[in-house]
Symmetry: C2
Subunit: 449 residues, 2 copies
C-alpha cells in the first residue's frame, strides 16, 4: 500500500473541500495539502444542475469552476480524483484511500471531512434501468440530457417535491415533457407556510404540472419500456423518472469511530467547524451547521453554506481563528415566473422553538401599481409577539429577492417590526410600490404586538 | 370672505397631505378635516411621471391614486382643489386661502403643512415657450407627451442630471429623441461615489446619451423654433428642453412668520413631524427629515418619505404618538438596464460627518457565473474602520435591488461587515452567485478593520 504524508488531508473536493484548501493556503502557503475526491471532477456548482437541463446553463461542464490541474496550479493543493476514503484511523491520524490505481495510506496532521451527501435512493426495482435518474453531479445532468435527446420522453414522474424536484420539473417542462410530481407529505418544498404553499401549488398547477400529495412511491418498475411508479393505491406511468426525495450525508464509513454524528449521520461540528476529535474538521453537506436563531445544530445541506463552512475550516486548521455566524435557513427557488423563498423560521417552527410568535400574511405588487409589469407577491412575516423581533418570512410571487434580503438582514441583527415599518427601503416605481410589501407587513404586524 | 372651521386643516394633498388625512381619520373618525390643494388633482405619484412619458405607465391619469370625490368618500376628509393658502395667522390659528371662487378664512385646531416643492426654474428667456418643460405633475407629463406627438422633436436638452433628469432622458430616448444632458457639477445624480459614477456615465454614453459636465446653463432662448441653451463658452441647440435642476420647498408664504425654516426654506420638523409652533405639523417635500445615521435634519424630498411623514403627522395630531425612525438616504433609479442605487452615506459624506470611514469597491455578477443572463454589478461599501459598522453602499449595474435592501436593513440595525460577510443570503443560481457581492465586499472590508 502506497504511503503518503500531508499536513492537511481533505476528503471531498466539491464546495467545502476546495474552499477549505484555498483558505488554508491563504493563511499558510507552505502547508502541504491533498484533496481526495471520489468523483472524477471537483469544484462544481451542484445547485446549477437543474439549469443545465433547462438550458439556462450552457453545458454540464459549465458548472465546474476549476479542473483538478488548474486547482492545483492556482491554489497549490494536490488533487486526487476518483479516490475514495474508506477508513480512518483517528488515533494514528491515517486515512485509507482506494482508487483504480490501488490503495493509499495517507497520514495527516489536520483532516477535513467534506464528503458531501448523496441522494437517497430507495430499493426500487427499476433503479439502474435507462431513464431513471438522480440529479446530483454533472454526469447525472449529462445522462438526463442525453436521454431526452435520444428517447424524446413525453412524460416524467418526479418522486419528491423538494427544491431539486421542483427545479428539475421546471427544466423538464422546458423540453415539453409532461410532469407529475409525487410527494409523500401533504406539501412540497419542506417547511413552508400553508398560505404560501397554496399559492405556489396553484401557480404550478395552472402551468400544467400535476402534483400528487400524501403519496409514497413504494416501488418503481419498468415494463415494456414504460416506468410504473407504484403507490399504496395507484400507479403512475412515465417515460422517465427522477428521484429527488432528499439526501443523506456521506458518512457511512465514519460510523462507530468515536466521531460524533447526528441522527441522520451528519458530522456534528461547532461554529469553528471542529468535530469532537482533535485536528478533525468537517464542513458542507456531510456536516451539521449552527442555526443563528435557535443556536441549535441543524442539517440544512446547501452549497452556499458548504462554501462558508469550508472557508472557515481551512482558516482555523491553518492557524486562523474564525467562527461561523450560522444559518437562518434562507432558501430561494422558482418555477418559471413563480418564485418562492424562505428565511428564518416559519410560524410553526417558531412556536416549536418556544417563541411566542405571531404572523401576518400580506399581498402586494412588486412595482408601483401603475407601472407596467408589476408582479403580484405575498409575504408571511413571522415575529415575536412581545418584542416584535423578526423571526422569519416566506415569500411567493414575483421579484421577491429584494424583500427577502431585507428580512434576512433584520433577522441577523435582531431587527423588529417596529424598526422595519418605516425603514427607508429605496423607492422608485420600476422597483417597488411606495409602501413596499415588507413595510406593509410590518405595519400590520405592529398592531398584533 | 367665506369663513370655515375645521379640526384639522391640511395644506397640500399629494403624498404627505393625503396620508396625514387618512391616518388622522383612522385614529379619530370624528375629526373634521379639510385638504386645500393648489393643483386640480390630489394624491398622485410624482415619481411615476417619467414613466408616463416612457410609456411604462399607461397615461398621466394613471399615477393619480384617488380623485377628490373618491378621497372624500373613502377617507372622509373634505378636499378643495385649486385652492391655495397664501397667508397663515398662527396666533389666531387661521389660514387664508384663495381660489377662483374667492377667498376663504379657515380656522383650524391642528394644521398640517404639506405644500410640497416646486422645480427651480431660472429666469430663462425661453421659459413659457412651447417646448420647454419642467416635470412635476401629471399636466407636465401630458404637455410633454402632446409636444412629442405634435412636434416630433429630434433633439432634447436636459438641464440638470439629477434623478428626474436621468429618468426623463431614458423616457425621451424611448421616443427616439437624441439626448444631451447639461450638468453644472462634475457629476450627475447628487452625492455619488466616483467609481460608481464613472460606470454609470460610461454606460449611458455607450447608449448614445451626451453628457456635459461643469456646464451651467446661463440662459435658454428660442430662435426660429429652435432652443438654444447658452453656457459660459458654448451653445447647445435642441427641439425641446427639460429643466430638472432641483426643487425648492413651497414655503415662501411662511417666511418670517415665526416658523423655523431651514436655509433652503424647508420647514424644520422633529421626528413627530411637529414644527416649532404648537399644533402645527409639516410633512413631505416642504419639510426636513431626520437622518437615521447622523441624527441631523436633512432635506431629501422623496415620495416615499412624504408618505411616511404624512402618516405620522396625521397620527400624532389625532392623539396618537408616533415617531419617524428617519431616512438613510436610500435612492434607486435606472437608465434602461443600468441601475443605480445609494443607501446611507458615501465615503466622503461619512468622513465629513466625522466617521473614521473606509470603503471597498467590488465587481461581481448578479447570478451564478455559469447562469445565462447574469448581469455585472458593482458595489462601493462604506464602513467604520474601528467597528466595522456599515455606513452606506452604492451600487451600479444589474439586479442591484436585493443587494441594496440587505445593506439598508443593516444600516438601520447597526450591522457590521463582520456580521454580513457570512450571512445566509439565500442562494440559487438564477438569483445570485454562491458568494453574493454584498458578502464579497464584507469579506474584503474585514481586512481593512
Amino acid at each position: 500500500m502506497e504511503k503518503m504524508e500531508y499536513d492537511v488531508v481533505i476528503l471531498g473536493g466539491v464546495a467545502a473541500g476546495t474552499s477549505a484548501a484555498a483558505s488554508a493556503k491563504r493563511i499558510n502557503k507552505n502547508l502541504k495539502i491533498a484533496i481526495f475526491q471520489k468523483e472524477p471532477y471537483i469544484s462544481y456548482g451542484g445547485c446549477g444542475l437543474p439549469y443545465v437541463i433547462s438550458g439556462d446553463v450552457s453545458s454540464p461542464e459549465a458548472v465546474i469552476a476549476l479542473t483538478p490541474d488548474i486547482f492545483k496550479e492556482k491554489k497549490g493543493a494536490d488533487v486526487f480524483v476518483k479516490h475514495e476514503a474508506y477508513e480512518i484511523d483517528f488515533s494514528n491520524k491515517i486515512v485509507y484511500i482506494k482508487s483504480e490505481e490501488g490503495e493509499k495510506e495517507v497520514s495527516y496532521n489536520k483532516l477535513v471531512i467534506s464528503t458531501g451527501a448523496s441522494p437517497i435512493i430507495p430499493p426500487f426495482q427499476a433503479w439502474g434501468e435507462k431513464g431513471i435518474f438522480k440529479l446530483r453531479n454533472p454526469d447525472d445532468a449529462k445522462n438526463i440530457l442525453n436521454f431526452i435527446k435520444e428517447e424524446n420522453p413525453e412524460k416524467a414522474i418526479i418522486i419528491g417535491g423538494g427544491f431539486i424536484g421542483i427545479e428539475t420539473a421546471e427544466a423538464l417542462k422546458k423540453h415539453g415533457i409532461e410532469i407529475t410530481i409525487i410527494e409523500g407529505m401533504d406539501h412540497i418544498l419542506g417547511n413552508i407556510e400553508p398560505e404560501i404553499h397554496e399559492e405556489f401549488i396553484h401557480g404550478i398547477r395552472e402551468k400544467g404540472v400535476n402534483v400528487v400529495f400524501n403519496t409514497f412511491a413504494k416501488d418503481v418498475i419498468k415494463e415494456n419500456g414504460v416506468f410504473k411508479v407504484i403507490t399504496e393505491d395507484n400507479e403512475y406511468t412515465g417515460d422517465m423518472v427522477i428521484i429527488s426525495i432528499g439526501v443523506k450525508p456521506n458518512t457511512l464509513f465514519l460510523k462507530d469511530k468515536g466521531l460524533n454524528l447526528a441522527k441522520n449521520g451528519a458530522i456534528i461540528v461547532n461554529e469553528k467547524m471542529e468535530t469532537n476529535i482533535n485536528n478533525v474538521y468537517a464542513a458542507g453537506d456531510c456536516a451539521t451547521v449552527n442555526h443563528f436563531i435557535t443556536g441549535k445544530n441543524v442539517y440544512i445541506p446547501l452549497g452556499t453554506t458548504a462554501n462558508k463552512q469550508g472557508r472557515i475550516a481551512g482558516k482555523n486548521l491553518a492557524g486562523g481563528n474564525d467562527s461561523f455566524i450560522g444559518v437562518v435557513g434562507s432558501l430561494i427557488t422558482k418555477f418559471e415566473d413563480i418564485e418562492y423563498a424562505k428565511t428564518g423560521l416559519t410560524l410553526q417552527e417558531a412556536i416549536n422553538e418556544g417563541f411566542n410568535a405571531e404572523a401576518v400574511f400580506i399581498k402586494s405588487g412588486s412595482k408601483a401599481h401603475y407601472y407596467k409589469g408589476s408582479k403580484k407577491l405575498k409575504i408571511k412575516l413571522v415575529f415575536e409577539k412581545k418584542t416584535g423581533r423578526i423571526l422569519g418570512a416566506q415569500f411567493v410571487g414575483g421579484e421577491i429577492h429584494p424583500r427577502l434580503n431585507a428580512i434576512t438582514s433584520l433577522i441577523y441583527t435582531n431587527g423588529t417590526v417596529d424598526k422595519l415599518r418605516n425603514m427607508d427601503l429605496a423607492y422608485s416605481p420600476p422597483f417597488s410600490p411606495v409602501w413596499d410589501i415588507d413595510l406593509v407587513a410590518a405595519n400590520q404586524a405592529i398592531k398584533k404586538i
